[in-house]
Structures are given as structure tokens and as C-alpha cells.
């Protein structure tokens, strides 16, 4: 009985509907009170219910319990760590403030969303295997296609890196936790709300304007479009909160001796990414607010008839969504630097250049948004400067690739699964990067815009880029997280099937695009038939390859051989702790005495953890 009052999922079951009902009542009552029609549209009330229900869910899970007590001046025990750390699997379904628990929650939840989004791709790839319509209606096709994009971007790729960072970064910088553990938990629990909002849009006529949701097309979609706009905002709020947390953590909580240039490159990458998230994400919130007001309140931000301007949506949207591309790849770059240095036993080649290139990408990332709009009819003078800035951003990216190759060169390369994914990533990402340089050139872009060439390009950078780095990170830190080794043989099978299937799936799309096959259309010219059949078969193989991974991860967590503290002989701080690390990470504050990648030096150490002594450390934090 008490379960429905304590902060649990059971409490969410009644708090969320209660919040939704109260919000509807307030809206209707307020409108009636000032003499307006109490119900403008049913869909507006549904929107209100979704927003309040989402807040109610977070309240129900316990996201505000502590703060509420604090703000109302109640008694709090600063030494109460009851919500910190997991003692059984049940604790993973609760509001937990331990960054390691939150990291696992993030990674598992987002990976499930990856499987869901992948399933959508499987469904519409089966439709695309033959020309003409077979099993899906055009609306269903468009809906599945849009869901695939949105789920993959907003509830998989962006948050999965927050998950990996959550687990690893406090360990890497020698901190006990993130700077704001409760905010950290809150930003995780916003994600299920976002995913719920996006996925339930199927019930109300799913959004079918692609993941970009451009008006005026989006104004004609069913009610699901509003839920898309809401879901994106929820996911955005979650990622802003995480980014604030990462920034403060990295700036203030590094162990003594860890100067900026002794930080592991993943920490650098997350610093740059978090700055991007904080400055860019509100823009998509702005665009989504305006588009939502158009749909639900009858405003005219983007309706042509009412004096609106559709092009401004695209500008504001891409002002976030292009930096978002770097939000989805920069932490991956960091992971690759960690994996390659550790598994090749060599110091990172050009550490400072790589660190600065992360910052360079973050800054330049704001100056390239309009290259998504070369064919949109925007001001023509904007094209060439944006083309130049887009070509420039290939330079810091090239620096990183050069650094990874230089690190591998002459190293003692151990082709563990983690390193296989890292090396495979370099191969596929370079293909995606090169086609990126091609589409940055205005005349070329204008001729292949909205074709499968674009689909090929961004799947090479997002699957061949981001997802490969996610896998590399999963395999690299799996022994640390679970304390057991994964099955190396299954890992290799997973890599090779993924790698081959990924290339067979996405490479022919370049060719289809050059021939003029348009994207986001369920039917196509019969001359493209055999190639689409090939792509679909390869896509199914790609989908099946994730099952090997899932089996490997689940089975090895129980039956893998014990990993010990440091199976990869890594030098960074997380490998100095037991696997999995203790609840509060370090027994004493570590001291950093050197760079993080001093591989190959005799007796080199990155940090030392002093013996426990009677601590007389000054109390900090409120």
C-alpha cells in the first residue's frame, strides 16, 4: 500500500493522471472564467494533459521530493544517501542519484529505444524491398520513417552519450559523483516521458513530415505532430539539464593536479559538447514552441496565409539541429581517442591538437546551419559563406582522424572488439565525412538535395560514425561496469556482421541518390528495384546483428569471466578502481601526476590514490 505513496513507478501511475486531470480542469475553468469558449479544441486540452502528465510522472518518481522539502524549509539530513547507489535490480527502476546507476539507466533505456527505432526501419525497409506499395499505406510509411529519425536522434543518439559520459566522466576526473546528482536523475527521468510522448503519437495520427517537421507540411499532419513537438522539447530539456551538470562537474570537480591538458580526451569532448547543448538546444525548443502554437492556438508564425514565414522555422531549427550533429558525434570522437590509445598502447598523437579541434568544431558548428537550406530559397548571398564555413569544419575533423591514425601507427595494436569498432569507425566515418564535403558544395548539393545520396551521407556519419563509437564505448567499459568480460568471439562476429552489413546497406544509397531516387517516398522507379532489394536484405542482417550484441551483453553479465580492476591495462582513473567501482568511487581524493595517455613509458602513472588517512578535508557544497 505504501508503494503508491513512496517515490516509485507505482506512484507515477496515479500522480501523472492526476496532474493531467488538474491541468485540464484549470485550463477549462480559466477560459470559462474570462468568458472564452472553455474548450478551444480538444487537441489543446490533450496537449495540456500531456505536459502536466509528464511533469506528474517526474514528480511521481520522486524527482522533486528533496527540492520540495528543501524549498519549503523542511528538515533534511545531508548524510542521507538512501537514494544513492543500487543494491538490487529494483533500484534501477527508482529515482537514483548515483551517476553510475543513472549511466546504466540511460544506456539501457536508450539502447531499447535504438532497437525500437531500428524495428521501424526494418518495417519500412521491407516495404521498400520492392517498388510500389505492398503492405503499408503512404501515411503509415511516412509515420514510420519520421518516427525512426526522431527516436534515433532524440532518444537514442543524443542521450546515449550522456549515459556513457555519466558513468565514465566522474570516474575519469576523480570525482565522487556529478555536481548535481538530483538534477542528473531528473534529466534521466524526463527521457521516458519524451519517449512515451513520441511513441504514443501513433494513436492520434502519427507525425509524418520527417524528423525535421517542416511547416507547412507539419501543419497538415495529424495530432501526432503536436506530440512530436512536445517530445522533442522534453528530450531537449533533459539534454540541457545534463549539459549544465557536465559543465559544472568538469569545471569544478576535477581531482587536484588534473589540469585542463591532463584531462582525458573524452572529458574534453564532453566539455565541448555540453557547451554546444547549452547554447544550441533552446533554439529547437523555440522553433517547436512556435510550430506548436501554430497548430494548437491558431497563431501564424509559419502559416503563409496569416503573414508567417516558413523559412524562419528552417533557420531556427537548423541553428540547433546542425550543432546537434556534433552533439551526436563529438563524445564519440572522445570515446575513440580513449579506445585507440588504450588498445594500441601508445600516447595520443597530438593531444592538444585533438583537444582544441573539439573546441573548434563546437565553435564552427554554429556557423554552418544554413547548408541544410541551399535548396530552400533562402537569401542567395548566404550560400557561399556557409559553404566555406562548412568546408572549414572538415579541418578539425581531419585533425582528429590524423591523430587516430598517428596513434595506431607503430602501436602495439590489440584488435579487441572495442578496438575493432574504433578502427572500423575510422573507415566508415571517413566515407561519411568525404560525402559530407561533397554535399557542402552548393552546386552538387542542389543537384542531389532530397535524394538518397543525403540518406547515404547521414547514415554513414550517424551509423558508421556515432553508433560505431557507441559500440566501441560499450565494449571498452563493459568490464568496468559489470565486472565481467564480454565474449570476445561473439563480439568479433558482431563487429564483422555489423561492419559488412552497414556498408552493403548504405553504400548503394549513394549511387541511388546520384541516379535521382528521392528520399522519404515509399514508391520508386522499377529500375532501382534490385538495388533496393539488396539494401533491404543487408538492413535485415544489420538489424539481426544487434541481437548478437544484446545476447553477449546479457549473457556475459552473469557468466563472463571476471574482469578484475584493469583488464585493458588502462592508465586513466576509472581503471584504478575495482570493477564495478564502489558507490562513492574513490576511497580518498586521487592526485593526478601526469598526462592520461603515457602508454609505453616505463612505470608511467596518470594518478595516484593516496592511502586512506584521517581526513581533515574542508566541507564543501551546500
Amino acid at each position: 500500500m505504501t508503494a503508491v505513496l513512496k517515490p516509485t513507478l507505482a506512484r507515477c501511475l496515479w500522480v501523472a493522471p492526476a496532474f493531467a486531470a488538474i491541468a485540464i480542469l484549470i485550463t477549462v475553468a480559466a477560459r470559462a472564467l474570462v468568458g472564452m469558449d472553455p474548450v478551444l479544441q480538444e487537441s489543446t486540452l490533450l496537449t495540456v494533459a500531456y505536459i502536466a502528465g509528464g511533469i506528474g510522472f517526474v514528480v511521481g518518481i520522486g524527482g522533486f521530493d528533496y527540492w520540495w522539502t528543501w524549498m519549503t524549509g523542511g528538515e533534511l539530513d545531508p548524510n542521507d544517501h538512501s537514494t544513492h547507489g543500487a543494491k538490487s535490480w529494483r533500484d534501477y527502476f527508482k529515482f537514483n542519484t548515483d551517476h553510475k546507476v543513472i549511466g546504466i539507466q540511460y544506456v539501457v533505456f536508450t539502447f531499447i529505444m535504438f532497437l525500437v527505432g531500428g524495428m521501424f526501419a526494418m518495417v519500412f525497409r521491407s516495404e521498400l524491398a520492392r517498388p510500389a506499395a505492398q503492405s503499408l499505406s503512404p501515411e503509415q510509411y511516412n509515420g514510420l520513417l519520421s518516427q525512426h529519425g526522431v527516436i534515433m536522434i532524440f532518444v537514442f543518439l543524443v542521450p546515449v552519450f550522456a549515459g556513457i559520459g555519466n558513468y565514465v566522466i566522474p570516474l575519469m576526473i576523480g570525482a565522487a559523483d556529478m555536481a548535481f546528482p538530483r538534477l542528473n536523475a531528473l534529466s534521466f527521468w524526463l527521457l521516458p516521458v519524451a519517449a512515451f510522448t513520441l511513441l504514443t503519437s501513433f494513436m492520434f495520427g502519427s507525425f509524418d513530415a520527417g524528423w525535421t517537421g517542416y511547416p507547412t507540411l507539419s501543419q497538415q499532419s495529424g495530432y501526432g505532430m503536436t506530440l512530436y513537438q512536445l517530445g522533442v522539447q522534453l528530450a531537449g530539456a533533459s539534454s540541457i539539464a545534463t549539459a549544465v551538470n557536465f559543465l559544472v562537474t568538469i569545471i569544478t570537480m576535477r581531482a587536484p593536479g588534473m589540469t585542463l591538458f591532463r584531462m582525458p580526451l573524452l572529458v574534453w569532448a564532453n566539455l565541448a559538447t555540453s557547451a554546444l547543448v547549452v547554447a544550441a538546444t533552446p533554439f529547437i525548443a523555440g522553433a517547436m514552441f512556435m510550430a506548436m502554437f501554430d497548430r494548437e492556438m491558431g497563431t501564424h508564425f509559419f502559416t503563409i496565409g496569416g503573414g508567417g514565414d516558413t523559412l524562419v522555422y528552417q533557420h531556427i531549427f537548423w541553428f540547433y539541429s546542425h550543432p546537434a550533429v556534433y552533439i551526436m558525434i563529438l563524445p564519440g570522437f572522445g570515446i575513440i581517442s580513449e579506445v585507440i590509445a588504450t588498445h594500441s598502447r601508445k600516447p595520443i598523437f597530438g593531444y592538444r591538437a585533438v583537444a582544441f579541434s573539439s573546441a573548434g568544431i563546437a565553435i564552427l558548428g554554429f556557423a554552418v546551419w544554413a547548408h541544410h537550406m541551399f535548396a530552400s530559397g533562402m537569401q542567395p548571398w548566404l550560400r557561399v559563406p556557409i559553404m566555406i564555413s562548412t568546408l572549414l569544419i572538415a579541418i578539425p575533423t581531419g585533425i582528429k582522424i590524423f591523430s587516430w591514425l598517428g596513434t595506431l601507427w607503430g602501436g602495439v595494436v590489440r584488435l579487441t572488439t572495442a578496438n575493432l569498432f574504433a578502427v572500423g569507425f575510422i573507415f566508415t566515418f571517413v566515407i561519411g565525412g568525404l560525402s559530407g564535403v561533397m554535399v557542402a558544395v552548393v552546386p552538387f548539393d542542389v543537384s542531389i538535395t532530397n535524394s538518397y545520396f543525403i540518406v547515404a551521407h547521414f547514415h554513414y556519419v550517424l551509423f558508421g560514425g556515432s553508433i560505431m563509437t557507441v559500440y566501441a564505448g560499450f565494449y571498452h567499459w563493459y568490464p568496468k561496469v559489470t565486472g565481467r568480460m564480454y565474449n570476445e568471439l561473439l563480439g568479433r562476429w558482431h563487429f564483422w556482421i555489423t561492419f559488412v552489413a552497414l556498408n552493403v546497406t548504405f553504400f548503394p544509397m549513394h549511387y541511388l541518390g546520384l541516379l535521382g531516387m528521392p528520399r522519404r517516398v515509399m514508391d520508386y522507379d522499377p529500375q532501382f528495384a534490385w538495388m533496393n532489394t539488396l539494401i533491404s536484405i543487408a538492413a535485415f542482417v544489420l538489424g539481426a546483428s544487434t541481437l548478437i550484441f544484446v545476447y553477449n551483453m546479457i549473457h556475459s553479465a552473469r557468466h563472463g569471466k571476471l574482469a578484475g580492476a584493469n583488464p585493458w591495462a588502462g592508465l586513466t582513473l576509472e581503471w584504478m578502481l575495482s570493477s564495478p567501482p564502489p558507490t562513492f568511487n574513490f576511497p580518498t581524493t586521487p592526485r593526478v601526476i601526469g598526462g592520461p595517455y603515457r602508454y609505453g613509458e616505463e612505470g608511467a602513472r596518470h594518478a595516484i590514490i593516496p592511502e586512506a588517512e584521517p581526513a581533515s578535508v574542508e566541507k564543501v557544497g551546500a
Binding site: M71, A86, P282, F301, V481, T583, T589, V617, V620
Partner: protein, 198 residues
């Protein structure tokens, strides 16, 4: 994924940045708030400056009445600061009444804005300029409302004696947030109400 026994968390001493982590977090958050306002200001600038679209139907934007309202909000920043000063001088009643004065001024501001909404003569549905006027001022209004809730909670904590001269990051955060809302309003007032019609 078990965890070892509960260990006392040795507080890791942060790098000395001169800022408490929670205040730094707030400031970073305000940067992102600024970007959110920036999205709306961008839309507004496109409309008023690039396309030279004016207020619907030649409506007169009530700059005079709203300038009084602006003064009310600016004044509330001072009363908010008074509350903090009172805390430094260990004047407990001063903290409460400073916050109360801020709360009252903020409520007056919000009430006058709502009155303006009802009397201004156009609606959010009147073209893109109507939409951006109501959403810019409305976005700010929501921030004022959140600020009022925070002030109220700050008063509750003041009554219960939870703010001390040594530990008051929360009160500092509330005041920084309130100043931010105030500054955004001054910018908004300047570009929305005082920008001459083209």
C-alpha cells in the same frame, strides 16, 4: 552490478573558481535561457527589421503605460537586492520584507501585463506580429511567474529561518534569476515597445 558497503563520501575539493557550483550551474542555465529568448527575438527581428511588418491594423503599442510597468519591475530588482543585503546584516525581518516587496511588485507587473493583454486590441491569432508579440511577452511572463513562485518559497524559507549569512546559495540563485528576468524585460521593452514603427 552490486555495490560495496556504504562509505562516507569524502568531499572532493573543487577547483577554486570563485563561484559556488550551484551558482555556476545557474549561470550556465541562464545562458541557455538567453538562447531560448534569442530564438524568439530572431523571429521578431526578421519580422520587424528585415520585412518591416508593423503592428496589426495600425494599433498603438501602449509604450507609456508599459514604461510604468517597466519601472515597477526594475524597482523589484532593488528590493530583491535589499533582501540579500539584509541577510548580510543579519536582519531577519529585512530578508522577509525585501522578498515580500519583490513579490508584490512582481505580481503588480504580471497583473498589469495581463490587463494589457486584454485591452491591447489584437490577439495572438492576428498575423505573425500578433503571434510573436504574445509569445515574447508571454515567455517572459512565464519566467516572471516562475520567479514569483521561487520568491514565495524563499519567503517560506525566510520565515523558517533557513537562510543564514553563511549558507544562502538558494537566495542568491533566486535573486540572480530575478535580475535576469528583469534585464530580459528591459531589452524586450526596448525592442518591442520603443522601436519606432517603420
Amino acid at each position: 552490478m552490486s555495490s560495496t558497503a556504504h562509505q562516507p563520501a569524502a568531499p572532493i575539493q573543487p577547483y577554486r573558481t570563485g563561484l559556488r557550483p550551484e551558482i555556476m550551474g545557474l549561470i550556465i542555465f541562464l545562458v541557455s535561457e538567453l538562447a531560448l529568448f534569442g530564438a524568439f527575438f530572431m523571429y521578431y527581428a526578421n519580422l520587424r527589421l528585415l520585412k518591416a511588418i508593423d503592428w496589426p491594423g495600425g494599433f498603438h503599442i501602449p509604450a507609456e503605460a508599459t514604461s510604468i510597468n517597466t519601472l515597477v519591475l526594475v524597482l523589484s530588482s532593488f528590493t530583491c537586492e535589499f533582501a540579500l543585503l539584509a541577510l548580510y546584516r543579519r536582519n531577519k525581518a529585512g530578508v522577509f520584507f525585501g522578498l515580500l516587496a519583490t513579490f508584490v511588485l512582481g505580481t503588480i507587473f504580471l497583473g498589469l501585463q495581463v490587463y494589457e493583454y486584454m485591452t491591447i486590441g489584437f490577439t495572438p491569432q492576428d498575423g505573425s506580429i500578433g503571434a510573436i508579440f504574445f509569445s515574447l511577452t508571454g515567455l517572459h511572463g512565464i519566467h516572471v511567474f516562475i520567479g514569483l513562485v521561487l520568491l514565495l518559497l524563499g519567503m517560506v524559507r525566510a520565515v523558517r529561518g533557513r537562510w543564514t549569512r553563511e549558507r544562502h546559495s538558494g537566495l542568491l540563485a533566486i535573486s540572480i534569476y530575478w535580475h535576469f528576468v528583469d534585464i530580459v524585460w528591459v531589452v524586450l521593452f526596448t525592442v518591442v515597445y520603443l522601436l519606432p514603427s517603420s
